[in-house]
């Protein structure tokens, strides 16, 4: 557990600079497109603006619509508690928190889908249906890398797995990282699967579910999305760059640079790949699952 100051500091750092990642990704995409692009801190400004605004609710929607964003964010922050976000251990950890981590993400998705359905609009329904379908496939894809970690280290707690010595290494590490990266792209609706800044409702998946949210609710949702990106990014980073040994400052710096690198990579991937056809999307998720299997067999 080690409820020490460092992990608390990491947790707060994560809360603060989660939206920063999105800014970096947008800047990288703009750079590739030859534009100056929006300021890196754009998401902070949006959040601040939204939090000060009122809200417009659809006459059709009810309490579920209002509870959706709140529970979504709560679940994601809950998941963050268990992830060794900084250079050190996670705030909380018990044997079996990998499963809790995956199911908390599932809970967040479940409530966003219900909130979307509550609006009674056909577009949000379509988004909800697609999101539900992809999440059904993403769940096993997420479990597989975690399973490999558990199998190698014999630990079923995220924090313990990362701290243990017999970490995944060599080719299995590559396979696990690739699988996790695919899941990262799917969960955070990046280009190959879903286009974050499309304006045609029929093509959106993740965005259309937030179509009817306004004011503080929309702020909570976008902050939740950013936090989720930071979450999965943290796992990827901890996996790719084995930390440990150095002081808190050095670890934190190394971790932040890793996250930055991840954001840049995502930006480049988004700019030079077109979006997959809707029927091809499950193929990508199943390939993530296959990579996981391969990692398991090789490890």
């Amino acid at each position: 557990m080690g409820f020490d100051i460092n992990s608390l500091a990491d947790f707060l750092a994560a809360l603060v600079c989660a939206p920063f990642l999105l800014g970096v990704i947008n800047r990288v995409k703009a750079f590739f497109a030859g534009r100056r692009g929006q300021p890196v801190l754009q998401l902070y400004y949006d959040l601040g603006k939204l939090l000060r605004k009122g809200a417009v609710y659809s006459s059709v929607s009810g309490p579920v619509f209002r509870a959706g964003p709140v529970i979504g964010l709560a679940a994601v922050t809950g998941a963050l508690l268990f992830v060794p976000a900084g250079g050190h251990g996670a705030l909380l950890g018990f044997s079996g928190d990998m499963i809790l981590f995956a199911y908390l993400l599932g809970l967040a998705r479940f409530f966003t889908v219900c909130a979307a359905l509550d609006t009674g609009s056909s577009f949000e329904g379509m988004g909800a249906s697609r999101e539900a379908f992809f999440s059904a496939l993403a769940e096993p894809a997420l479990f597989m890398p975690l399973a490999v970690l558990a199998a190698k280290t014999g630990e079923i707690s995220l924090e313990a797995a990362f701290r243990s010595s017999s970490m995944v290494a060599g080719t299995p590490l590559l396979l696990v990282a690739a699988a996790l990266y695919l899941v990262f792209l799917a969960e955070n609706c990046r280009i190959p699967l879903d286009d974050p800044n499309t304006h045609l409702e029929l093509t959106m998946i993740h965005e259309v579910m937030a179509l009817d949210h306004s004011g503080p609710d929309f702020a909570l949702i976008s902050y939740g999305a950013a936090l989720k990106m930071w979450l999965l990014g943290a796992i990827l980073a901890r996996l790719a760059f084995p930390f440990g040994g150095m002081g808190w400052a050095a670890n934190a710096a190394l971790f932040l640079s890793a996250m930055l690198a991840l954001a840049v990579i995502t930006g480049t991937v988004e700019s030079c790949m077109a979006r997959l056809k809707m029927t091809r999307a499950p193929a990508m998720l199943l390939s993530a699952l296959a990579l996981g299997f391969a990692a398991f067999l090789v490890a």
Binding site: G54, A55, V56, S58, S59, V60, S61, G62, V64, A67, P69, V70, I71, A74, G78, L81, L92, F94, S95, G96, D97, I99, L100, Y103, L104, G106, L107, R109, F110, V113, C114, L117, D118, T119, S121, S122, F123, E124, G125, A128, S129, A132, F133, S135, A136, L137, E139, P140, A147, A150, A151, G154, I156, E201, L211, D212, G215, L220, F293, F296
Partner: protein, 635 residues
């Protein structure tokens, strides 16, 4: 033990009283009292010491021998809980012939209680078939419509085929050890070939539990019964199959490696196929019935991992597997009971069970909506509620099995199946919740729907509360689960940390959500909050029917399983007609059972030419029989 027996007698009496007295309220109170008495009766068994009673029963091989150990107690707890709730629920739900319905329900509960405690083969079989008969009479409750008659017939035949395997198993054992008592069965099973015993057990009890290829009757029978009866059946009766397998497994312990494997594969198949078919259904109760098949699959996964752990010698894998499976038995009983009662309330309020015609019931039936949401979140196994705790244990067992050489593949198979099933379950219940309760009503105007009466809501609230409480502090239900799991693989104390962790996580989540909710409200109270029609992307005349329907919601997922709803494309240049229908043909039934029954009938109808009506042919048969016998005698 006499407390337990007196509860059974009281149950029967309450039923009989309800038959004659006009108000069924008295009988309901008596039934609830009987269930409470029953619960009190099995408390000593929960703590591990076996209570038993044995009287002579004057039929060959029969002995009135009841004994409740911790395994029986595990199954009796949800039985009495649901039995009481169903009794209260039926007060509001049943309109016609209430007395008879009450009698049958009470007798069904009593028969199930005897099944869980019988220690003599003859008594077990009698209680088993009585359970089937009473539930059959309740399935064909409104025998006016041919649909429920057909369902009743399929149910009766399927349960009879299952019982035939059990009868064969008991007869084999009786032949070998000369007595029908369960205590003598281990001796008999040692002599019998293990393959035969295991096959008969899995077939016989699997048919009642609803394993994948044998589940065909379940989605037809459960929806036809009145809702509180399908709650009882889905919650407890299919668990009798699981109980049977466990009871028999106790007798041929140690089971070889492949038995655990078989259960894991069956569990995976049942889970995936169950939830896939559930997604393809339009009828609420059929969807819930198929999800029962899926949950039975999950339980089978847990038990399978338990047996794999036992044969691999790892006590922790086994303990997690068994306790996960058994915890899921209790959780599923409560959750499925809650969901079926919810579906009953919907049917009671709206008069229809077809999801495509419902929608927006949240406004008309707020309490039912809240309970149904709690149930769906629970059964999709999300953290704060009790479904998560059961599946967490099974996951732990799967994860731990990964690092053991010969159990790794089983663990991997279980893990992927459970993950995919969990994902699809979330989709299925989001769909059901969204399509029925959220959005706008798709058919009749809202005021026609009315909330269920208080007597129906009370049990639902009680069940929802129970689920939440078990989810938050699972330590409440452990005394029922851990001793039962320990019967199979010895006590193991690592599990308490996991359970405590899950509980803490649940509370934490609650606190976080509450904090955010307060934060959000504080932001909004100063601001202008207005309401407007949903953003229809500028479409000029949106109407309620444009909402996403159940089959539309499930279409992408089903396209993977070749169960997608069938859309008839318009063929002419200027299409006048185009049609869309979503038939939910049950693959197993169409591909396995219809051809099988057809084959049996053709083969047998060949024999029908014997009765040709001509007396000469008849006497010829006589002569031929004589000659054949003569030849047989002389060779």
């Amino acid at each position: 033990m006499n407390l337990f027996l007196s509860s059974l007698v009281l149950l029967a009496l309450a039923g009989a009283v309800s038959l004659f007295s006009r108000t069924v309220r008295v009988a309901a109170a008596a039934t609830v009292a009987a269930c409470a008495l029953g619960l009190a009766g099995i408390v000593p068994a929960l703590r591990g010491n076996i209570i038993s009673i044995s009287l002579p029963l004057h039929i060959p091989g029969g002995r009135f021998y009841l004994a409740a150990d911790s395994l029986s107690a595990l199954f009796l707890v949800p039985l009495f809980l649901l039995g009481g709730c169903a009794a209260v629920y039926s007060l509001g739900y049943m309109q016609k012939r209430r007395g008879a319905a009450f009698l049958l329900m009470n007798l069904l509960t009593a028969a199930m209680a005897v099944v869980f405690t019988a220690r003599n083969g003859m008594l077990f079989l009698i209680a088993w078939e009585l359970m089937a008969v009473f539930s059959f009479l309740l399935v064909v409750w409104d025998y006016e419509d041919s649909q429920s008659r057909q369902a009743g017939w399929i149910y009766l035949v399927a349960s009879h085929l299952g019982t035939a395997c059990i009868i064969a198993l008991f007869a084999l054992a009786w032949g070998k050890c000369g007595s029908l008592d369960f205590d003598a069965f281990p001796r008999a099973f040692a002599l019998l070939p293990f393959g035969a015993v295991a096959a008969l057990t899995l077939l016989g009890f699997g048919a009642k539990a609803g394993f994948f290829p044998l589940h065909v009757w379940l989605p037809k029978a459960h929806p036809a019964a009145p809702s509180h009866i399908s709650a009882l059946m889905s919650g407890i009766m299919i668990k009798a199959g699981i109980y049977g397998i466990l009871r028999m497994a106790l007798m041929f312990v140690p089971a070889p490696q492949w038995f655990g494997w078989a259960l894991v594969l069956i569990g995976a198949a049942s889970g995936l196929m169950g939830i896939a078919f559930a997604l393809a259904q339009r009828d609420v109760k059929q969807c819930l019935a198929y999800s029962s098949v899926e949950n039975i699959g999950v339980i089978a996964l847990g038990l399978g991992l338990g047996f794999v752990g036992v044969s691999a010698g790892r006590k922790d894998i086994a303990f997690f597997g068994f306790s996960g499976g058994m915890l899921h038995v209790i959780n599923h009983a409560l959750l499925k009971g809650l969901l079926f009662m919810g579906a009953g309330a919907v049917y009671h309020g709206t008069g229809t069970r077809d999801m495509e015609k419902l929608g927006g019931l949240r406004r008309a039936m707020p309490v039912t909506a809240a309970c149904f949401m709690a149930g769906s979140a629970g059964i999709a196994a999300f953290p704060p509620l009790n479904g998560f705790v059961g599946e967490l244990m099974i996951y732990m067992s799967a994860f731990k099995a990964l690092s053991v050489a010969d159990a790794a593949l089983a663990g991997l198979a279980a893990l992927t199946a459970l993950a995919l099933t969990g994902g699809l379950a979330a989709v299925c219940f989001a769909r059901m919740l969204g399509v029925i309760f959220l959005g706008q009503p798709r058919s009749a105007p809202e005021k026609a729907f009315h909330e269920a009466p208080r007597t129906m809501l009370a049990p639902m609230i009680v069940l929802a509360a129970l689920c939440a409480v078990i989810g938050i502090c699972p330590v409440l239900v452990l005394p029922a689960v851990f001793p039962a799991a320990a019967m199979f693989c010895g006590a193991y104390f690592g599990a308490d940390a996991v359970i405590a962790g899950a509980g803490i996580a649940g509370c934490l989540l609650g606190i976080l959500a509450a904090a955010l909710w307060i934060f959000r409200n504080s932001l909004l109270d100063g601001r202008t909050v207005s309401s407007a029609p949903t953003w229809g992307c500028g479409y000029s005349a949106p109407n309620a029917r444009m909402q996403y329907t159940a089959s539309a919601f499930a279409q992408p997922v089903l396209s993977m399983f070749a169960l997608a709803p069938h859309a008839e494309p318009a063929k002419e240049l200027f299409p006048k007609t185009a049609s869309f229908h979503s038939r939910n043909r049950d693959l197993a039934k169409a591909r396995i059972y219809n051809p099988l029954f057809g084959l049996v009938e053709d083969k047998l109808s060949v024999l029908r030419v014997i009765q040709g009506g001509s007396i000469h042919a008849y006497i010829l048969y006589l002569a031929v029989a004589l000659v054949a016998l003569l030849i047989w005698a002389l060779i």
